[in-house]
């Protein structure tokens, strides 16, 4: 093409001599298209496409999984053909007990699923966790059933230690889309969170509730679901890890701005080891925080939490993944 001798008029209006490349900061408009959570190109069915390729050292060994889950993993490994795996999955789903509709609440709903999934957890007499779940999608229900069957009847410590990597061991990842896998991971996470909640509730001397909404783990997003007040300052009784790393100590220091009469920071990151939020951080990612301070007087729960969050902004932006907050005034703390 020859050298253009004409330059469109519109470009001549721009008189500045120095070119300056100013990447505009465009406010994020709603996306035009419906996006899937992860985008993976599938060329052939033979290649397992993993969002984060696990090294053999980080994959939890099958022997460490709860016994029923081990059985399930082995069963799926024995089934080679993708369609047969589906059939197996649907078979599990069909045998899943229906969940009473009163348990299909927001607190029990799994985020990140294209279909609707609910999970409920409660203790049996031996303080083992029993799960129930349901979904309007048969494949998702199958996945839920796998988890329910694999994890029900086990103690909390075992459940929270299950790494989501075992999904790879199932070999279902090849047969399921990434967004479904996300749902799977989120289901597992929710189940683990609920198991932990049951544990925390029980330790606090509350009667093991039937697992209906109560405590919500304060995630990053503001205005989390209704938090019930837990009586008493019983954190010490949990016997949590009393040694704090640098972040834990920083959190303690920062929260002193609230002039607390009592403060307890507990690092529970180990329970979340292996899931996506932890990767790339220094390991101090999840904390339970309890603060007792006059500053909370007259403030709503949401407002109290916001105070704590805003103080910890820098930490939240540098690897702190989640906080579980208990914020009380001294009078509330004393009352049972």
């Amino acid at each position: 093409m020859s050298i253009p001798t004409k330059i469109p008029i519109s470009s001549l209006f721009h008189r500045s001599a120095a070119p300056f490349f100013n990447p505009t900061k465009i406010p994020t408009p709603p996306h035009r298209f419906l996006f899937s959570k992860t985008i993976t190109k599938r060329i052939s069915s033979n290649q397992p496409l993993l969002s984060s390729p696990p090294s053999s050292s980080s994959l939890q060994r099958v022997e460490e999984l709860p016994p029923k889950l081990q059985e399930i993993v082995k069963l799926f490994q024995a089934v080679q053909e993708p369609k047969a795996k589906y059939e197996q999955l649907l078979f599990y789903g069909r045998n899943l007990n229906a969940l009473d509709s009163k348990y299909k609440t927001t607190e029990n709903k799994v985020q990140g699923c294209v279909s609707q999934v609910w999970v409920r957890a409660y203790f049996d007499e031996d303080k083992n966790v029993i799960f129930e779940a349901d979904s309007d999608s048969m494949l998702t229900k199958g996945l839920a059933a796998l988890l329910v069957q694999g994890l029900s009847g086990r103690p909390v410590e075992e459940i929270v230690r299950v790494s989501p990597d075992f999904a790879t061991l199932l070999g279902l990842q090849q047969s399921l889309t990434p967004s479904r896998n996300n749902g799977f991971l989120n289901m597992l996470k929710l189940m683990q969170k609920k198991a932990l909640q049951l544990y925390v509730e029980a330790e606090r001397g509350e009667s093991p509730s039937s697992g209906v909404s109560g405590i919500g783990d304060s995630a990053i997003s503001d205005g989390g679901e209704g938090e019930s007040e837990i009586g008493g300052d019983l954190r010490e009784d949990l016997g949590g890890n009393s040694e704090l790393g640098s972040r834990g100590r920083r959190i303690e220091e920062i929260l002193k701005e609230l002039r607390p009469t009592a403060i307890h920071v507990e690092d529970i990151s180990y329970q979340h080891a292996g899931h996506s939020g932890v990767a790339g951080s220094d390991g101090e990612t999840h904390f339970n925080v309890e603060v007792i301070s006059e500053e909370f007087e007259g403030k709503s729960l949401v407002k109290r939490h916001r105070m704590v969050y805003s103080l910890l902004q820098d930490e939240l932006q540098s690897g702190l993944h989640a906080l579980s907050i208990v914020a009380k005034t001294p009078s509330e703390a004393v009352a049972q």
């Binding site: 209006f13 721009h14 990447p23 408009p29 052939s44 078979f91 279909s115």
Partner: protein, 470 residues
């Protein structure tokens, strides 16, 4: 009896750009007819299969398929059947080449430099703008503002025109079938200005109620925001009429043409619309570029949207003066290569002819609708195609007792068929229809009758699989 013919061997591969499509002589007659449908006037009986020359061997789909490299692959061991075009279209080799050429030969920032590369890049970029302008028959190319996509274009109108023209009590008329990008920015504007959003529901044929729409356009209405073609219902709105009703009361009209510009002739002057938006990636162009069309007197009166370089004339410390159209609305370095790619896509489409594309797609749309609605326990949304009612080449549907996600997953994994499941960025519409989500198969001119046949067969298999587990 279904004919599966591998068309690759029968087609002569013509040079990618500026192709002329050689048609069968008997097809010429079809192109000239005025009624764009199958001649049977009765309600949808299954369309005659391989005897229809428009869809049979040598159809537009068969002829153009070789131009799209991405379609020639296998997914999960099966031939890829790509039926998600309403989400994004595929790109002909010419467009991919154009992008490559840009970066290999003349990449340079536009409008700023003097040197050879910069002048060439500017030339091509402005030429692309002219191509867009011609494609939709705008009066002049400065009525075309390049944006990142249609969503950004709507936001531009909302923040620039909306915030400075709407006041408390003014009404913005929309339909409940609008895409989220046509709703949410106006919610922002309504919150800030006190304007009121009013929504038109669907009529009995599952199309926005045009009569009610007309009634709602009262003196209080200042803006009407409507889709041209619905990405869920496949319905088409009579934009020219809507525009005349709006102008009668002094209201402006913003047309979301994302699903129309890629598939049919769209003439902004004949429609007389004030604003029109579209995205490149839905019309065989690259992602990352779209455009806003606005009448020049309107755009000239609007304040800038994004600030920065390019959109200014003089910059002082405490204030600046702004550039002329269209630069006023194009802050920062644009997606130059992408704009040029869009221009190439327009060349490609124009060489085929939008009328031709439209007619082929109407045939394919009817075929898809007929076959899909004949599948037991399938419910397709939107109007029935007929002599007076055109459907776009897409079908959103639900299968009784089977979740759309299950359908889409199984179709993909077991059959290599790509459809979409979800709410398709139209939650209010789904809520109105009483469902959480739906599945959607959407076609483009490079799809063939065999694609539809494969889809239907795979769908039967999918439904049977899940039914056996009930």
């Amino acid at each position: 009896m279904m004919m599966m013919i591998s068309m690759e061997s029968a087609v002569v591969k013509l040079p990618p750009s500026l192709r002329t499509i050689k048609l069968n002589p008997n097809r010429k007659n079809r192109i000239l007819r005025t009624a764009p449908f199958a001649s049977s006037a009765s309600a949808p009986a299954p369309a005659p299969l391989s005897t229809d020359p428009q869809l049979g061997p040598g159809s537009l789909g068969h002829l153009t398929r070789p131009d799209f490299p991405i379609l020639h692959q296998e997914v999960n061991g099966k031939r890829l059947v790509y039926l998600d075009n309403a989400a994004t279209s595929q790109k002909p080799a010419a467009v991919v080449d154009a992008l490559r050429n840009y970066y290999e030969l003349y990449n340079s920032n536009v409008h700023r430099g003097i040197h050879y590369l910069s002048a060439k890049a500017t030339d091509e970029y402005e030429l692309a703008r002219q191509k867009v302008s011609n494609f939709i028959n705008a009066s002049e190319s400065r009525e075309i503002v390049f944006t990142r996509n249609a969503t950004e274009a709507i936001n531009l109108v909302a923040y620039s025109w909306g915030l400075s023209n709407l006041k408390e009590g003014d009404e913005v008329i929309l339909t409940i079938a609008e895409h989220h990008s046509a709703i949410v920015p106006w919610q922002f504007v309504a919150q800030k200005t006190g304007a009121v959003l009013k929504f038109v529901n669907l009529g009995e044929d599952e199309v926005p109620d045009v009569g009610k729409l007309r009634e709602m356009i009262s003196k209080r209405a200042k803006l009407v925001v409507v889709h041209h073609v619905s990405n869920v219902l496949a319905s088409v709105l009579p934009i020219d009429q809507v525009v005349s009703w709006a102008h009668d009361v002094g209201a402006k009209v913003l047309v979301d043409a994302c699903q129309s510009v890629p598939h049919m002739v769209v003439d902004v002057r004949s429609l007389d619309t004030d604003f029109l938006v579209a995205s490149s990636h839905k019309m065989c162009g690259p992602t990352g570029i779209g455009f806003l069309y606005g009448k020049s007197e309107l755009l000239s009166s609007m304040p800038p949207f994004l600030g920065g370089g390019e959109m200014i004339a003089d910059v002082y410390l405490d204030h600046s003066t702004y550039a002329e159209l269209p630069s006023k609305f194009e802050a920062g370095t644009p997606a130059i290569g992408e704009a040029i790619g869009l221009g190439t896509a327009i060349d490609y489409l124009s060489a085929i002819g939008m009328q031709k594309i439209h007619e082929y797609e109407v045939e394919l749309a009817n075929y898809l609708y007929d076959r899909l609605s004949s599948v037991p326990s399938v419910r397709v949304y939107g109007p029935k195609p007929s002599r007076s009612v055109t459907r776009a080449a897409l079908c959103s549907f639900n299968v009784e007792d089977v979740h759309p996600t299950d359908i889409a997953t199984f179709l993909d994994q077991q059959h290599g068929v790509a459809i979409r499941s979800g709410h398709h960025c139209a939650q209010p519409l789904h809520r109105y229809l009483g469902v959480n989500s739906s599945a959607r198969a959407s076609l483009h001119f490079y799809n063939t009758k065999e694609d539809v046949d494969d889809f239907i067969i795979s769908l039967y298999d999918t439904i049977n699989f899940f039914a056996s587990f009930k």
